[in-house]
Structures are given as C-alpha cells and as structure tokens.
C-alpha cells in the first residue's frame, strides 16, 4: 500500500448538503447543512476537518462515503473518489465502495460495535463481504492490526464481546476494523473525544502510527485543534457548513489568515495573574470522607482537605471517577460526609442541606455543566433570575426589576431577554443566565461544575472571561471543577488534582504546575495535547524514557 502513487484520491467539488427540518408548529422546510465546500486529498495524506458543533464536519466526512446521517441529503456537487464520481453510481455502487475503499471510525466505539457479536467477527466482516480476503487471512490480518494498535492479548481479544473490553480498547479495535479491508481512505470522526485525556494520548499515538505504517489516507474530524495538529498534514477550518480556511498544518497554527481561525488558535490564551492565598480562607474542607449509600458504601472521597481564599479560584482537576463532583455535593450539603468538616467564612457548615440556614445557602451558589437542564423550562429568564431576589432579599416590583436589569447587564445580555424561555436561548446565553441566577444571591462562593465542557471553545472562552471579570467586580470566589487543564491554566489561583477520591497534589497554580511532579500529575499534564507540531512524538518518547528508567 505504502508504495502506491501519490496521486489524487479524493476530490470533493462544490458539495452542498441539505436536510428537512420539521418544526413542531409550522410547515417542514429544507435547511442547508453544507454549503459549497470543496476539498482534495492525495493518497496517504491526512486532512484535518475542524470546527465547532454544527460546522458540518462530520457531514462532509460521511459524504466521502456517499452517506447522509439522519435524513441529510447530498443536493449538489461531486464527490470523486479514485477518479469516479461516487454520487452517480447508485446505491449498489456505493455499497461496493463502503467498507472496501473507504472505512469509518466513529466517535463512540462503544455504541458503534454490535453488542451481539464478537469483536473479531465484526472486525473482519467488511473484508469478507467485499471478498478482499479469506476468513483465515482476514483473521491473521486483524491479529496483526490488534498488535500494531497496542491492544493487550492480540491473539485472544477478538473472541471477546464489546462490553468485555474498555472504551480505549474499543476505539483501537474500531480502528483495526477500519484498517482490516485495507481501504484507500479512512474517515476518523472524533475518535478520541469520548476518552479520558490520559487514554486519549495513547489511542491518538496508535492511530497516527497505524496511518503512517499502512499509508492509508484519512479525513480526521475533530473540534480540538491541538489534537488535529498532531496527526494531519493539512487542516480545513469549517464554520456553519462553509469553508473558513484551508492550509498546511503549520500555517494554520502559526500564521492563521482568518479571524475565526485566529480565535480558535488563541482560545486557551487567557491571561490571568495568580493571586497569593489570603491568611484566612473562605472555604475550608477538612479531612472529608464520603460514600454513597452511607458508611457501608464504597468511599468516593477519602480524607480530602482543601482551602480557598476569598475572591480567588480553586480549580479541582481530575478525570471521570476522580470524585470531584462528589466533593461539590459534600460542600453544598447534598451528600453529608461521614467524616470531616466543612468550614465557611469562619463558621462550621452543617453537614446536611436541611440543617443549613438560609444565609449559608445564599452565600454558596452553584452553576452546572448542562445549562439547559439547570433551568426550569417553564419559567422565563425574569422568573429564573428573579426568584433568588424574592427568596433571599424579599425584593418586589420596581426594586426587583432594577436589580434584574443590573444582573442582565452584568452578564452582557440585554433586558429584552427577560421574557424569554430557556429554549429560546443559545447554549452560551443559557449558561450566562445561570451565572446571573447565582450572582443574584450575592454569594461569596460559586461552585462551577464543568461549566464550560458542554460549550463550543469560542463560547466557552467568552464564559470564562465573563467569570473572571465578575470575580474582579463582585469579589466572589470560585470552586472550579473541571477535567480540562487548559481551562485550569486560564483561570485558577490554586489547584487540587484528584485521583480516585484522593487529592494527590494541592497548592498554588505555579506550585502545582511546576516540577517535581508526582506520577499522576505528570501523566495528566503530559497527556494534554498542546498546539504544537510534533508534541505527540515528544510526549510519547518522554513517556517511554520514563518507563524504561523505572
């Protein structure tokens, strides 16, 4: 394969894709998903498609297989693969090409594998259906691929069922499934997005290595510019179904031409000067141990101690299952700990919510990850923000309206939004309203639980800037729970790294982020992709060195 000529493999010309929208009240109408997009891909090359959700990147990727997901239709343009327009061939021709010339790797391998069949049967299925290899050959090929992709027990893992292997392993198996029929092109659709960051790096390295060795061409779709910079030769930036900019990876990262690309590249460059800890902390968590299902349950927090100074930000970082969200539940009183205490503004907080005074509740507010379920869909923005004003301060009438206008102004939204329902707001606007609801209580501390993870990078950036700004004005402290180290770098004054229910590292931002590191923090920090070509190789190499040294 590797010695195939480096000619043109895929040539998409003026692609237009549409879908029909069925609004609940109104006639159905067509909406344009992809508008006049053209791209070319040479054999053995990797093109990264990058953009926010709704940019049309997955849709374009699937068009190379002549496939439209969920009623999306190709309504214009040409998709020329290996010299012929695949849109002219009809469904029989398309079927011959799918799984033979082009293969697909989905975001969630856990859902993309059929739970009823063994991995091996699914991995070799396409090769058998298209007659690319005999069963014996295909099985041999699959075992080789399993080994190449770093799966444990390459000879035996194929006999397992999808639910018997981990998410990272499934993603590798899915890559093996795509490689098995030796296609000319693979479409990778956010293959590492659903994985924890420490798993992502290994899978990413495995995919890159497999692409290099087999010489297959690829469309690599992701929303993470730092990830795509590691694997692709060229990058295409998309927005709202249109092309923003195309160029070599180095050019896009170092000299972006368009404003939008520049914004994407600079997303993680918020400047925030770290503040020194105050002598008296606002929040102090002392030796907290907690478990779901009471004392007999499995402890999700083990002897956790932390402090947060007034008007500062403490970032709690960890992967899924680290106990960081449970910590928030303990502080808010939703989950009383069975050991340890929580002190707030010099007084001890009652362990359970029901025993806390109204002032305790007021001074400690919370903002959630999913803004759209954090607001009652049957209440207007006025009622959502107005309720804490009534509840805590007894505000009514003109006084309440005045304060409401002030709050809307603080979150950079006009008074015109007051009568809207949550469903009529965009994702970013929803999160802003949640921030205003928290601010309405005039709190000293706001717990932010992954507040930017569900948002597109540019919107998330806006929310972070708003939070920092509000901190300056209102002198409010944040306990910021996140899995994203870039966010932590951007806003934290101090950091706690959590792993399996324990705080493994805690201190000011500069302390935590400078060596010497403990093993886990090192692994975590070195796993976060950086916007730098060749970062992946460096990271993997240094990891190999370390494990060799041990």
């Amino acid at each position: 394969m590797a010695d195939k000529d480096k000619g043109l493999l895929l040539d998409i010309r003026n692609l237009r894709m549409e879908a029909t929208a069925y609004p609940p009240d109104g006639p159905p109408h067509d909406i344009v998903i992809v508008d006049d997009v053209s791209l070319t891909l040479k054999r053995g090359k990797v093109l990264g498609l990058i953009g926010e959700s709704g940019a049309g990147k997955s849709t374009i990727g699937l068009s190379s297989m002549g496939y439209g997901r969920g009623g999306v239709r190709i309504t214009g343009g040409e998709v020329i693969l290996n010299g012929r327009d695949i849109l002219k061939g009809g469904s029989r021709q398309l079927r011959k090409l799918r799984g033979k010339e082009v293969c697909y790797v989905a975001q969630s391998a856990a859902a993309a594998f059929n739970p009823a069949h063994r991995l091996m049967d699914q991995v070799i299925e396409a090769a058998l259906v298209h007659g690319v290899a005999s069963r014996e050959e295909a099985r041999k090929r699959a075992v080789v691929l399993f080994e190449k992709l770093g799966l444990p027990d390459p000879g035996g893992i194929g006999e397992r069922y999808p639910h018997q292997v981990s998410g990272g392993q499934l993603q590798r198996a899915m890559t093996a499934m795509a490689l098995c029929p030796e296609p000319d092109l693979i479409v990778f659709d956010e293959p590492t997005t659903a994985l924890d960051v420490t798993t992502q790096i290994d899978v990413l390295a495995a995919i890159k290595e497999a692409i290099r060795e087999t010489g297959v061409a690829a469309l690599y779709i992701t929303h993470d510019l730092a990830v795509v910079a590691q694997v692709s030769d060229d990058i295409m930036v998309l927005r709202n179904g249109q092309t923003v900019e195309v160029g070599e990876t180095a050019q896009i990262i170092h000299e972006p031409r368009e404003d939008y690309t520049r914004a994407l590249v600079s997303v993680r460059s918020i400047e925030h000067k770290e503040k020194k800890p105050a002598p008296k902390p606002l929040l102090s968590v002392d030796g907290v141990t907690a478990a779901y299902g009471g004392r007999g349950g499995v402890a999700v927090l083990k002897n956790v101690s932390l402090q947060l100074s007034p008007g500062q930000t403490l970032a709690v970082v960890g992967e899924s299952g680290s106990g960081k969200s449970t910590l928030a539940r303990v502080i808010t009183g939703l989950l009383p700990p069975y050991e340890g205490e929580v002190h707030f503004a010099g007084r001890q907080l009652a362990p359970a919510l029901a025993q806390r005074s109204r002032d305790d509740l007021r001074e400690l507010q919370m903002i959630y990850q999913m803004a759209d379920v954090a607001m009652n869909p049957r209440q207007t923005v006025r009622n959502i923000i107005g309720r804490p004003l009534e509840f805590y301060f007894g505000m009514r009438g003109a006084e309440k309206e005045r304060r409401l206008a002030e709050l809307l102004d603080e979150i950079e939204m006009g008074e015109g939004f007051a009568d809207r329902y949550p469903a009529e707001l965009s994702g970013g606007q929803k999160q802003r309203v949640c921030i205003a609801r928290a601010l309405a209580a005039k709190p000293q501390l706001i717990i932010c639980d992954e507040v930017t993870s569900a948002l597109d990078p540019l919107v998330a950036d806006g929310i972070l800037k708003l939070l920092l700004n509000l901190q300056k004005i209102e002198n409010v402290a944040y306990l910021f729970i996140t899995h994203d180290l870039a966010t932590v770098r951007a806003i934290a004054d101090s950091i706690a790294v959590m792993y399996q229910g324990e705080v493994v590292r805690y201190g000011t931002k500069s302390e935590v982020l400078s060596p010497p590191f403990d093993d886990y923090t090192d692994l975590l920090l070195s796993s976060v992709p950086e916007m730098e070509i060749g970062w992946l190789e460096k990271a993997i190499a240094s990891r190999r060195m370390e494990s060799a040294g041990n």
């Binding site: 997901r69 799918r98 989905a106 059929n114 739970p115 639910h163």
Partner: protein, 318 residues
C-alpha cells in the same frame, strides 16, 4: 452459562412468589364484604339456624387465613373446590373450557403474531410514507374500538349478511379439527383485530429503536446489504423487545377472550367466569381469576426469560 441459569431460575421463582401473592389478593378480594357464601346459597330469607348449619358444614366459621390456606392446599392438589350454584366439581367443569379458550386464543395468536411482526417490519421499511401512516391511523382507531363492536360487526356483515360463517360458535365433542377451526373463525378474527394494531405499532417502535443504533450505521458503512443488516445486526438485538411486545399482547388477548366468548357464545372459560360472577358463585370466580392471572404471569415470565437469554452481556459476563 451458570450465571444465566441462576438468573432464569431467580426470575421463575419470583414469578411463583408473585403468583402466591396474587392468590392472596384474589382471595382477599372476595372477602371485602361481610356477607358470606352461606347467605348467597340460601338467600336472604334463610333462617339463622339453617345459615349456621351450612356455615359449620362449609367451615365458614374459621378465620379467613385458615380458609385461605385450606383453599390454597386444595389448589396445589388440583382441587379447585365445588361450585355453589350447581354443586359440581369446578376442576372437571373447567378442564374442557380451559382447553376451548386456549384453542381460541392459540388460533388468534398464530394468525396475529406473524402478521403483526410482518406489518411492523413493513411500517419500518416504509417509514413516514403512506403504508406507515395508514398503519398508525388504523392503530389509533383500533385501540378505540370495543371488542364487542368488532365482534358484532363481523357477525352482522360476515355471518348474517354474507352467511359465510355461523354467528354462534358452538363446539362439541367429536368435531374434526377443520370443523373446530371453522367454528372459531369469527371469534379468532375478532381477537386478531383487537391485538393486531397494537402489536404492530409496538413492534414497529421496537425495531425502529434497534435500527437507529449506531452499530446499524456502522454496518451500513461497511457496505453490507440491507437484508444482511437486518438479519445479522438488527435481528439478534431485536428479539428481546419483540418477544416482550408479543407476550404483552398475548396477555392482553387472554383478557380480550372474556368479552369475545360472550359475544360468540363460545363455551370457554371467559363465558364460564362471567356467568358465575352474575350468580355470585365465589369459589368458581376465585378459581377462574387465579387461572387467568397465572396465564398472564407466565407470559410475562417467558418474556423476561427470553430477554435474559438473548442479552449478550448476561450470556458472556466480563
């Protein structure tokens, strides 16, 4: 494999336990009112002495729980008691009728289940096109139709106007299987119509649910033919939900039988139960209620067991 056997055994044990609890509820349901069986037999004008004698004879002076256990012990040994209205042994009377009812329900099931699954598949195949819309409109109408309406419509048009079948479904000893089938044609058709639309709609939903899974898309993107996708990728995952749908509707069919038997004057258990409710013949009502509930519960157990067996996560634990 052991884990699965254990789960299946657990499910069946749970079903038996449930049946035991149901027997308590049914027995208790007939004890709500102070009046008793002796009063029902002898009527309002009976002398206190006659009542007292009969009560002693029937053991009605014992506390309720003792009578319950006596009743339960009888059932376990196959003794369903004696009918008050005619003094005959209930088990003997029921035997033939239960057979008739199961025959009728069986014929209806054999026709309706494959038909419903086929039409459900058709609705999925032509989703949002006219066959699908027609099916969903018919479903809406048919869940609104009382069983006796369908039954009398059939009698009026097919039996009376066209004269194809008799309007009364008599069955007797020594009928050939063909005669029997001819006799139950109309009631079976009624039952089929009653459950068909519902079963079709639920089958459609179950298959659609599977067809919208990401692994079906994966199969499509491997270039596998539509038929093979359904056979190899959708079917193994759709078995459990479809069996569930079928069992749910068969359970519904068992209840629908009661009304349909009365419409067609068919000598089955439903007719028998209704007659004896009107006569306030409590022992018969208890026995019939328990048998209906047992059939209903068994169908649910079968659905659950199939779901357990067809679940790969349970068949191949980590």
């Amino acid at each position: 494999m052991k884990a699965i056997l254990k789960l299946v055994a657990q499910r069946i044990a749970l079903g038996l336990l449930l049946l035991l609890a149901v027997s308590v509820v049914i027995f208790a349901g007939t004890q709500i009112l102070p009046g008793d069986v002796a009063q029902s037999i002898l009527g309002q004008s009976a002398t206190p002495q006659a009542l007292e004698n009969l009560r002693r004879e029937l053991g009605l002076n014992d506390p309720a729980y003792i009578r319950y256990f006596r009743w339960l012990a009888g059932i376990v040994q196959g003794d369903l008691g004696t009918a008050l209205s005619n003094g005959q042994d209930i088990a003997t009377q029921l035997g033939k009728r239960l057979g008739n009812t199961l025959f009728l329900a069986g014929v209806a099931a054999i026709v309706s289940v494959p038909l419903a699954i086929l039409l459900g598949l058709l609705a999925v195949r032509y989703r949002n096109r006219w066959p699908d819309k027609l099916i969903s409109a018919v479903t809406l109408a048919s869940i609104s139709l009382p069983e006796f309406f369908i039954g009398y419509l059939l009698i009026y048009f097919v039996a009376v106007q066209l004269g194809w079948f008799t309007s009364v479904s008599t069955v007797y000893e020594g009928m050939t299987i063909g005669q029997r089938l001819n006799a139950v044609a109309l009631p079976a058709a009624t039952l089929t119509l009653v459950v068909l639309a519902h079963m079709m709609r639920m089958t459609r939903a179950a298959i659609l649910n599977v067809m919208q899974s990401a692994y079906i898309e994966t199969a499509e993107l491997k270039g596998i033919s539509a038929f093979d996708i359904i056979r190899k990728h959708a079917f193994p995952n759709a078995i459990a939900p479809i069996v569930n749908v079928v069992m749910l509707n068969l359970a519904y069919l068992v209840v629908g039988v009661v009304v349909v038997e009365v419409v067609f004057v068919y000598p089955g258990m439903g007719q028998y139960l209704v007659d004896h409710v009107a006569k306030r013949d409590v022992p018969v009502v208890q026995a019939c209620g328990l048998i209906f509930a047992a059939v209903y519960i068994s169908l649910n157990i079968i659905a659950d067991v199939v779901a357990i067996i067809s679940n790969p996560r349970l068949r191949h634990p980590k």
